[in-house]
């Protein structure tokens, strides 16, 4: 969806085009038909009537909450007592607290690890499973299943798989290749990585599907040419496939990074920030501040900062893309 399409056909131009299309009718006929159509096409508010439900719902559940989050972040929110304006105090509290800095760091590490892991694994899967064939289609569908499984189920399943004793499912698999039992989500040293692995497991097949769609649009002729020139498989991927997927990379990067920054449910269900705060991310912290400790102003300030992080990331990637395409 691009806005250019809207700009391309502004009101007068479109009408002129339509009138011209009538051709043989002559100018008068076109003008008359034009007036008649205007009447039939409804009043100016017809489109707004069609848009009303969507706009109303967006207003109530997106824009008003957003505005409220902004105001709340500058206030001490006291139900029944009235809110007190405290300026940037909430932001100072948030930025000055070790808890938030740790959570922000965990969030960034988790987002970066999940994004990189899902994209690399997704690309590898897509390259391995490109092409046609019924068996291939089956394997791809099966690999895609984690994406459609509700996140709450994914978390409960991995919780059981991560059972920290030797006979836990993942541990017994690790035991087969000679690695000792790991505490996974119960051990502060491995908890964040364990959540990351779960995230990659769910994210990689999604990236795989998008990469597969992108691979389909890479020019086959270039592969043939590379083959004639004696390029190895690696060189083909490096010089033909990867450049052909550039736009896919940046889109996936934005999507995955934003997904990573707003991570909540997996962490909430797998560790709820523990053990020892080793997996506390910004969203679980905000949830605790706001809904458990009732410090809504501070929580809102954290949310606004998180929003700014995602916004900056989105804009940065767009700018890089624009420069690249020039």
């Amino acid at each position: 969806m691009s806005l250019d399409q809207v700009k391309r056909a502004p009101l007068p131009e479109r009408r002129a085009h339509r009138a011209a299309g009538r051709g043989a009718d002559g100018a008068d006929g076109a003008a008359a038909g034009h007036r008649r159509r205007d009447r039939r096409a409804g009043r100016w508010w017809t489109p707004w009537l069609f848009l009303a439900p969507a706009l109303l719902l967006f207003l109530y559940f997106k824009f008003i909450p957003m505005a409220n989050a902004l105001t709340m972040s500058f206030q001490e929110v006291q139900p029944y007592l009235g809110n007190r304006w405290v300026g940037t105090e909430n932001y100072a509290t948030v930025l000055g607290s070790d808890g938030f800095r740790d959570a922000a760091w965990h969030t960034v590490v988790l987002a970066a690890g999940q994004t990189a892991g899902s994209m690399l694994l997704g690309l590898a899967l897509a390259l391995l499973m490109e092409g046609q064939g019924r068996r291939l289609g089956f394997v791809r569908s099966a690999a895609f299943l984690p994406v459609v499984v509700p996140i709450a189920v994914v978390a409960e399943l991995w919780r059981i798989m991560y059972h920290p004793t030797e006979d836990g499912m993942v541990n017994s698999l690790l035991g087969l290749v000679g690695f000792g039992p790991s505490g996974f989500i119960n051990d502060p040293d491995s908890s964040l990585v364990s959540i990351m692995v779960t995230g990659i497991w769910r994210g990689a097949p999604y990236d795989m599907m998008i990469f597969l769609a992108g691979l389909a649009s890479v020019d086959r002729g270039l592969y043939e040419a590379a083959k004639v020139d004696g390029a190895s498989r690696f060189q083909r991927v490096r010089h033909v496939t990867v450049p052909g997927l550039r736009s896919v990379f940046s889109i996936l990067f934005i999507l995955a990074a934003i997904r990573g920054l707003r991570v909540f449910t997996e962490v909430f269900l797998l560790t709820n920030g523990g053990p020892d705060g080793s997996t506390e991310v910004v969203m679980t912290l905000i949830y605790k501040l706001g809904l458990e400790q009732n410090r809504l102003g501070v929580g809102a300030a954290g949310a606004v900062l998180l929003f700014l992080m995602t916004l900056i990331l989105t804009i940065a990637v767009h700018l890089v893309r624009r420069r690249e395409s020039k």
């Binding site: 967006f58 909450p65 569908s141 299943l145 798989m161 097949p205 707003r262 809904l291």
Partner: protein, 288 residues
Amino acid sequence: MNAPTETALGLTESRSPGGRLLKALTYLLVLVVFAGPLLALLVSAFSKVKDPTQLSVIPSAATLDNFRIAFDQGVLAYLLNSFFVVGFGLLLQVAVSVLAGYALARKVFPGMTLVLVAILATLMLPEEILALPLSLILADLPVVHFNLIGTLAGMIVPLGAWGFSILVMTEFMKDVPKELEEAARIDGAGDLRIFAQIILPMCKPALGVIGVFGFTMIWDQYLLPLLVATDSSSYTLPLALRTLRIDPDVTPGVVLAASLLALLPSVIVFLFFQRSFVHGLSSGALKG
């Protein structure tokens, strides 16, 4: 038989026994890693699983006990809540999306760019960030002063408008030929009739796409039900999984049985509508 087309790795052409073996091993590894855990879930839900270490793909003493205990724990009520939320949520979302899509695709009006920017903005606005103010608004809707906390409506209405569905609908409705609409207008049809009898019937594939995506999105909701639900009577099934797990009397097998019930609907929808799903996924992501 069509000739295999050239791919990046050129694996499709490998007809040698070694190449085939390599391919088979790759596929097997992929299946084990991504489908394996789900298979383990399926098998364990039907086995006597007493302690969490016994998750296994090898069935042991098949039993329906887990499901029976799960139903004793009220899983059926949670499942019905989930179906209620996804049913009405999807109905609302599709209705809102086709109406908005019609205006954006078939009309040109001042303020249209602003509306599109606003819709795109909602897509960039992660719902998690709005959790706190949203929970306050749900407790007391501005102007009308409804309290949606503790009601299933509170999990449905906020999902009514989804930017993704609206944009998919808009794109699709743009492609309906102008001539059809013109002809109907000359016959004296108004906007509502053109919308319902001309445009909408031509958008069935797009309805499939937004239906499948809307279903998966609503079924996967966790944070919103968490904000809205006050007690177990309004829990959806995903939400109830955690309560089940925390309950000391409940074995992991029961949690897995409930998990299976929670994942089946979205998996079934995906398997049935794979085409729509993959199509929507690639068009949504690649068109940007």
